[in-house]
């Protein structure tokens, strides 16, 4: 089960403070990047919920996000639904699709699970790409953002929209912590540790997997609907396996099964990509080398590394006298 440690609380507080600070002070492009990070963060914590706590390493979460984005876009642009209704429907549709994928893939494990989810993701991608009503390769534009003017909130302002995404991330995070701490979440952890035993205890394992996968899909759908509103444009590229692969990289780069780590990973990944691609068109090379270096360090991602260091320091504090850098670290948290 997921546990909050002082370090995790501290990091969350720090991240929230940074995000708020940026949301208030950043210029236009800074806000765009912040929003991109926040939406990616929602997707990757949804992925961490299934991969890090249920062992379901999914390679279709990008596609699920795409389903959410397309559902929102089609329902508002083509079906003329009001944005709040479309948002709810998009989350529901994505959750339903994810539940079905989870139910079908529940029997597969390891690389087979990865490939099975990939297959469904690619099926969705090919279908959307080929279907003219979905805009095909050209995508769909003219997507409206949620209208919250009744509450005095104008989401067409990028600062407000960034704050809205921050709130959505916070809500998603709380929802995931809630799910992981529920009976369902407990059983999921049990399945990850020992699926055979959970079954022998009388648990309908596939149902639990499908339910959690569906819930994760709902959050991915939310990320998709937000992405559609952020760009006000969507294209099938959103569903491609590369997006799913990147999401997985971000989760592992940040720290699988830490929930806080993937958020750190999302920030690191987006910033790195933007900074490097501004300098060179060979940014893949730089990102690739950094990824290899992080993994070679044998830590559980960036946050896993921090946690290991932190625990080691706490251990030294217990045995020896506290030194100066430790105090600094304590004030950080």
């Amino acid at each position: 089960m997921f546990r909050h440690t002082p370090l995790r609380y501290g990091t969350l507080a720090l991240l929230a403070a940074l995000a708020l600070f940026k949301a208030v002070t950043a210029d236009y492009f800074g806000l765009e990047i912040l929003t991109e990070i926040l939406i990616l963060a929602i997707l990757v914590i949804a992925l961490d919920m299934v991969a890090g706590f249920g062992g379901m390493v999914s390679l279709c979460h990008g596609a699920l996000m795409g389903v959410g984005a397309f559902a929102y876009a089609l329902l508002t642009v083509k079906a003329g639904l009001t944005p709040p209704l479309a948002l709810a429907a998009a989350i529901g549709i994505t959750g339903g699709a994810a539940w079905i994928i989870g139910a079908i893939c529940a029997r597969s494990h390891g690389i087979y699970f990865i490939m099975a989810t990939l297959a469904f993701g690619q099926m969705a991608y090919s279908y959307v790409f080929q279907t003219p009503t979905f805009g095909g390769d050209d995508g769909l534009g003219g997507i409206a953002r949620l209208d919250l003017t009744a509450f005095g909130i104008d989401l067409n302002d990028s600062r407000t929209f960034a704050l809205f995404c921050l709130a959505a991330l916070a809500a998603s995070y709380c929802a995931i912590v809630g799910i992981l701490r529920s009976g369902l979440g407990r059983s999921l952890t049990g399945i990850m540790h020992n699926e055979q035993r959970m079954r022998a205890l009388g648990l309908t394992v596939w149902r639990v997997k499908a339910d959690v996968f569906g819930l994760s899909g709902m959050i991915a759908g939310l990320a998709g609907a937000l992405a559609a509103q952020h760009m006000m444009f969507i294209s099938p590229g959103l569903l491609s396996w590369k997006v799913s692969g990147e999401a997985l990289v971000v989760v592992i780069l940040g720290g699988l099964g830490t929930l806080v780590g993937p958020i750190v990973g999302a920030a690191a990944f987006v910033l790195l990509k933007h900074e490097v691609s501004a300098l060179t068109s060979y940014w893949h090379l730089v990102v690739g080398v950094i990824l290899i270096a992080v993994v070679m360090s044998r830590a559980n991602g960036i946050f896993g590394w921090i946690e290991t260091r932190w625990t080691a320091r706490k251990a030294t504090r217990r045995t020896g006298p506290a030194d100066a850098p430790l105090k600094e670290a304590r004030t950080d948290a």
Partner: protein
């Protein structure tokens, strides 16, 4: 920040400034990584050469901000917003992929920043989704393929099988050809659309084309797919029985070296080939060769002419977004492709189309121009264009 205020702000600053020694910020949006990187590089080289060649015709100076759009519409849209909102670009240019053009269309239109399209050819951009701020200096999908339908029918070709990648551009290119070909009395005996970006082996489709009973095959492919397609078509020995025609991107100067002998005798139509015989083109080809060591492709000429259009527009004294947009719509000149002008009804370029045969030359493959079809404006395609202001 509110976009309208921003646009108004830009306008106000533009009006307040004196006409001389203008500084114009240009956002150059091209793919420098991803599948279209080679195209992006060629357009950039052409654009740089264009500014260098014609830059002294205007007093204005140009600051270029280069952004990598990859082949990804969301990335490109993000970059376009940055250029417009943060860098306050006066004019945007570039755009290789039609999907990218579709993605940035709304923001360009609503913010009133002129965009000179230097490649993307989707018909809607100068059709139902046209905008007074979007001027296309490259081509439209229909424009390049339409004349070929008539020309092939005139050559006495009766039955044609078509092939193209299954995405919007592929369908538009083939659609335009098929319409004009059938109108001129030809018959389309079969069509196949191959999964875009996923098809590497065209064998199955080639067998289908052969079995269709056609007299000729008409295709649209570009980039790596074009290389594979032409080589595989040749390897099956189909050229003797079933001559290969197509949209000229198939045997673009950029790829014809990789196709080699396999491209021999393929007849295609395009708005530019390096062997067009006119003084502007001779000068352009010589200058481009000197700079890059390569023969310029149609992509390079898009960049070159986009730069020239920008220079000509600013030479009229236009320096702010609205004035530049207006001036760009009235650009016309004799370039490497012949006489160019902008159709005021759609903002699409009006240019001649060249039917050419790829043949072996002294230093690799070269192009023999067979016919030059007269320049004609595209149908309006539902474009409801705002009239010119001045």
């Amino acid at each position: 920040m509110n976009r309208k205020t921003l646009a108004a702000l830009g306008l106000a600053i533009g009006l307040a400034m004196p006409a001389a020694a203008e500084e114009i910020t240009v956002g150059l949006m091209l793919p420098f990584s991803g599948v279209y990187a080679a195209l992006g590089n060629d357009i950039e080289a052409g654009f740089a050469l264009g500014l260098e060649t014609f830059g002294d015709r205007t007093d204005a100076t140009f600051t270029i901000i280069r952004e990598d759009t990859e082949a990804s519409p969301p990335v490109a849209l993000g970059k376009a917003r940055k250029l417009i909102m943060q860098d306050r670009a006066d004019v945007l240019t570039g755009i290789v992929s039609s999907a990218v053009l579709g993605a940035v269309r709304d923001i360009v239109h609503s913010s009133g920043v002129p965009l000179i399209v230097a490649n993307a050819g989707n018909d809607e951009a100068t059709g139902e989704a046209c905008s007074p701020f979007i001027t296309r200096m490259s081509f439209s999908n229909g424009q390049v393929n339409r004349p070929m339908g008539r020309w092939m029918a005139e050559q006495g070709i009766g039955k044609v099988f078509t092939l193209a990648p299954d995405y919007a551009a592929g369908r538009q290119m083939i659609g335009a050809f098929a319409d004009s070909f059938t109108e001129a009395g030809g018959e389309i005996v079969g069509q196949a659309f191959t999964p875009f970006g996923k098809t590497q082996d065209f064998g199955p489709y080639l067998a289908e084309a052969r079995a269709s009973g056609a007299d000729a095959v008409y295709v649209f492919y570009a980039g790596g797919e074009a290389v594979s397609f032409v080589r595989q078509y040749d390897s099956f020995g189909m050229k003797d029985a079933l001559p290969l025609y197509g949209s000229g991107f198939l045997t673009s100067a950029l790829y014809v070296d990789a196709q080699g002998e396999a491209a021999q005798d393929v007849v295609t139509a395009l708005h530019y080939v390096p062997t067009i015989d006119n003084p502007e083109n001779d000068a352009f080809v010589a200058a481009f060769r000197e700079k890059t060591g390569r023969v310029p492709s149609e992509y390079a000429v898009h960049g070159y002419d986009a730069a020239r259009a920008l220079v000509e527009a600013s030479a009229t004294g236009a320096a702010d977004r609205a004035a530049l947009a207006d001036a760009l719509r009235q650009v016309s000149f004799e370039g490497p492709r012949g006489a160019l002008s902008i159709d005021p009804a759609t903002n699409n370029i009006v240019q001649p189309i060249y039917v050419y045969r790829t043949i072996a030359g002294e230093t690799g493959m070269t192009q023999e121009v067979l016919a030059q079809t007269p320049a004609e404006a595209d149908p309006v395609n539902g474009c409801d264009m705002a009239p010119l202001i001045n």
